[in-house]
Chain length 202, copies 3
């Protein structure tokens, strides 16, 4: 589990950087940027914890997550231009991160005895609602809802379904998680590359 | 109670349809539409459950609500134009729905031993904050706050007060609920017909 | 503690007035204004209570807070113009209020056994996220995030740090609180007077 924990902290740090970098395009000060970074990094897990009643929410019980977010502030402040030169690296991290957060969110929901269908929804909420909260706090229409966005939440829902199905064949946790993350990562990358989108509701 | 349960599920389904249909005017994809439908249908009860600490929130403990929302997706996707031809039917369902949700939200708050004044507020929150959440997620000023909107939340607050008053004369639950729903329905319909509005705060 | 309680109720009343007065510039009706007043007055404490799992949230367990908010409605409705003639008085109340709410929010978080670093964050959330919720419900970018805003959340974070440091020298609660409120009040006033701002994140 130690490897997963390090990966989770690193994911939090990278999501916080990406959130703050996007806030920099707004007329925000450092505090505003930090809040947007916080929302992007732990907002999805926070909304999940609130809905399933796992309180206090995760990042409050382990200050390492707070420090991972705080550590992102000087990085964005001093190296923003350098960071923005590597969008593909961020896409990689993001695609890995949503796979990991989907699986962890799903497991935390199952651990409370809730239905697997609810757990799949909560996996996707964990992975994608940090971005929804970021967009709301920036007063923008959530990107993940828009038809211009490539497959994102859908990939997390599919990954969650796959993870639950793999559970029925008695697979080890590490295998289930690794397969799910690889599949989520691959579909997401292909979706960006080939511009796959969900149909508009209209 | 079975009749109430069926009515609650049907209300959830209809509110999800109306939410998704309004999301279709935005440039949302199917996932975005589903989230807006979800928010409209169970957002008010979710906010109530969070505030009063009834966790996990209602729709997580009974997957029928999730399936009622999912069932609305194909209906909106394939029959949107047909649906939009019956705005009065939706108004009827909505006026019935807010009465029902006011009473159920109020009862759930009282059941936790909270003050009747708080329960009246939570009844109105249950019935109307789904729409507030829908508007926030669509990046719009909540309709229910605007002076152009006919009596809506006010009707729920009045209905809640009436329900609490009826409780003091030892009336049966079914009677209290039926009377409240009829009164909420009637005032709401009259309010739309005659354009009754609250004064602006200014 | 009685003096603190009266001060807290008075702060709730004044914050509700200031929230409603700002809603009056929008095209809101009385219900919308009341919700904005409610969000401004108790929104920060509500978000804190949700995150730390202190449910039902504070204002539900003591109806005096509800009545303090309701009492603000006629005041704003009948005396809005008079109120707006005294912006400096509001600034004073606000600067005192955020100091008090920072300390109370911090103490409530520590009381649940959470880390002092988390408590400092929750102190600032208690004091400032009512305004964030107000701005979100009005469909505006939160003022406290913007680089045009003088030191606000930062003052609460500094006040929280000071309060925790004063705790290490075994100071009485009343002294710790009074010193923190005076320091928060002074820095906030100086910040407005001299236009102190945080650097932009960009």
């Amino acid at each position: 589990m130690d490897f997963i924990y390090v990966f989770e902290l690193l994911g939090t740090f990278v999501f916080a950087i990406s959130g703050m970098a996007s806030a920099a395009e707004k007329k925000f000060d450092l505090f505003g940027g930090a809040v947007i970074g916080w929302a992007t990094a732990v907002g999805g897990g926070t909304i999940r914890d609130l809905l399933i009643g796992r309180l206090p929410v995760s990042w409050m019980r382990d200050t390492n997550f707070l420090f991972a977010i705080l550590a992102a502030i000087p990085v964005v402040y001093f190296f923003r231009k350098t960071i923005l030169r590597f969008p593909r690296t961020f896409l990689w991290f993001d695609s890995l991160g949503i796979g990991l957060f989907t699986v962890l969110g799903l497991e935390k929901t199952l651990a409370l005895g809730l239905d697997p269908a609810i757990a799949v929804v909560m996996g996707a909420v964990s992975a994608t609602f940090g971005g929804v909260l970021r967009d709301l706090l920036c007063n923008e229409v959530p990107q993940v809802f828009r038809r211009e966005t490539e497959l994102y939440a859908t990939v997390c829902l599919l990954g969650g379904l796959l993870y639950v199905l793999l559970g029925t064949i008695q697979l080890d946790f590490r295998w289930k998680m690794s397969i799910t993350i690889v599949v989520v990562f691959s579909i997401r990358q292909l979706s960006v590359r080939y511009g796959w989108r969900l149909p508009a509701i209209k």
